[in-house]
């Protein structure tokens, strides 16, 4: 149950933040709704990436390169 | 869901900030220093005791080393004393042995000399007695005195025949 919650939370949070940023940019640049759609997709990607990191046990490490390096180090140890 | 009802966002946030700041202040000023002090004190006591134990151990080890050194020393000393005594005893015994054997051999020599003297004396006596006996036997049988020189020669010959 805990893991499911975490994955759900990561996905929801990613999409939420994406849509939020898109909406703010849209109202600012008056490009509604295009940036919101774009950032919805990016937010989904970020959510999926966060889930991937969670699954690999690299919680919330920002930066994919750093995350994979850290995983390599963990493997070496 | 009541969680998404914005009516109560403001009071919730206000009381959250108030209580959390209070908690933070209480933790930093009262609770955490107290627990930290207790833990530090325990750690210090443990370290102290460990130090003391290490010190005691070192002391004990030193004592054991000293004891063993003393033991080895006294053993060596005893060894040398024993060796010295036995050397002295054996040399003394040898000395006494030598003196005794010298004395004994001297006595043996003297005794032998005395025996030889006595033997020759005895042998001389035997010859005289034999001459006397032969003279008196000759006198009884024949009734005349025998010639002393002839008698002597005869006894000497007889003695020689009988060995020695």
């Amino acid at each position: 149950m805990g893991l499911g919650f975490r994955i759900g939370a990561e996905l929801v949070a990613g999409v939420l933040v994406g849509v939020g940023i898109g909406w703010v940019l849209d109202t600012w640049l008056k490009t509604s709704p295009w940036l919101m759609v774009l950032f919805l997709l990016l937010g989904g990607a970020a959510g999926v990436m966060n889930v991937y990191r969670t699954m690999r046990g690299m919680d919330a490490t920002v930066g994919l390169g750093q995350a994979s390096r850290r995983a390599e180090q963990a493997k070496d140890l | 869901m009541p969680q998404f009802d914005p009516t109560f966002f403001a009071p919730q946030l206000f009381w959250l900030v108030l209580t959390f700041v209070t908690l933070y202040i209480l933790m930093t000023s009262v609770a955490l220093p107290k627990i930290g002090a207790v833990l530090d004190e325990r750690q210090r006591k443990i370290d102290d005791n460990l130090d003391k134990a290490a010190q005691l151990k070192a002391e004990a080890e030193a004592a054991v080393a000293a004891y063993e050194k003393a033991l080895a020393e006294s053993r060596a000393h005893a060894h040398s004393v024993i060796k010295e005594a036995s050397d002295r005893l054996s040399s003394e015994a040898e000395e006494r042995n030598r003196a005794l054997s010298a004395k004994l051999s001297e006595q043996i020599k003297a005794g032998e000399a005395r025996i030889g003297e006595a033997k020759t004396k005895a042998l001389a006596n035997v010859r005289d007695v034999a001459i006397d006996v032969a003279g008196s036997v000759f006198d009884r049988l024949i009734g005349a005195n025998a010639d002393a020189a002839k008698l002597e020669t005869a006894v000497a010959t007889a003695l020689k025949e009988h060995g020695k």
Binding site: M1, F5, R6, G18, A60 | P2, T19, L23
Partner: protein, 247 residues
């Protein structure tokens, strides 16, 4: 059967208004105050005797202290020491919110960690603090976090927005995780309790099955209360580590 959502309702106990801002003292506020009081009482009274060989209460307080100190040391390192009081307060506040929410306290019984605004506010404080610490320590170099070293420049257009969203989603995932766990757990408990009551009231035997299940779920919920407080705190520690060490 009682409405399982009812338990999350906020009831103002003392309505207050300051300058148009509603700051009513509610059952939620009461539970927060209760938590703070209990935490402080527990931590101060238990070490009152300063025993060298700790009793039951004192060793519990020490376990909490050592646990959080160890977590901070392992995840952040020695630089994390000055954030220890904050992380410790955070852990205790969430933990007591979760645990006291399980207690049948009359009138004010409430789980403040099941309210997303509360968890989000805490997560936002952590997030903002961590970001400020990151920029204070590394300056603009902290922005390197958002673009992986060695990746082709062309991918920056895609990767940087994704990393940015990922970074900004931290407080949301932190808040949503705790809030969702607490909410769903309490709904399950309420529904199971409702089954026990409605079935047990008419037939003794069928009520036993949901009762056994309810007991098991209650134990599980206590575990989750502990686990979620732990997860909330350790993720804060990991964020702090990233801000301080950037790798």
């Amino acid at each position: 059967m009682a409405n399982p959502i009812e338990q999350f309702k906020i009831q103002p106990l003392v309505p207050l208004k300051v300058g148009g801002l509603d700051i009513s003292f509610t059952n939620s506020s009461a539970m927060m105050v209760l938590s703070v009081c209990l935490i402080t009482l527990f931590l101060t009274l238990s070490v009152r005797s300063r025993a060298l060989v700790p009793g039951r209460w004192q060793s519990m307080a020490e376990v909490f202290y050592e646990f959080i100190a160890g977590m901070l040391r392992e995840n952040v390192g020695s630089e994390g020491r000055k954030y220890f009081p904050f992380i410790f307060s955070l852990f205790m506040f969430v933990l007591f919110g979760n645990l006291l929410g399980m207690m049948p306290i009359p009138v004010i019984g409430f789980t403040y960690t099941s309210h997303v605004i509360v968890t989000f506010a805490m997560a936002l404080v952590v997030f903002t603090g961590v970001t400020v610490i990151g920029f204070a320590r590394h300056g603009t170099h902290y922005l390197r976090m958002f673009f992986p070293e060695g990746a082709p420049i062309a991918t920056a257009v895609i990767l940087i927005p994704i990393e940015l969203i990922s970074y900004f989603s931290r407080p949301f995932s932190l808040a949503v995780r705790l809030f969702a766990n607490m909410t769903v757990g309490h709904i399950i408990l309420k529904v199971m309790g409702g089954f026990v009551v409605s079935l047990g009231a008419f037939y003794l035997v069928p009520g036993v099955v949901p009762f056994a299940f309810l007991s098991a779920v209650t134990v599980l919920e206590f575990g989750i209360a502990l686990l979620q407080a732990y997860v909330f705190t350790i993720l804060s520690c990991i964020y702090l580590h990233d801000a301080i060490h950037m790798h």
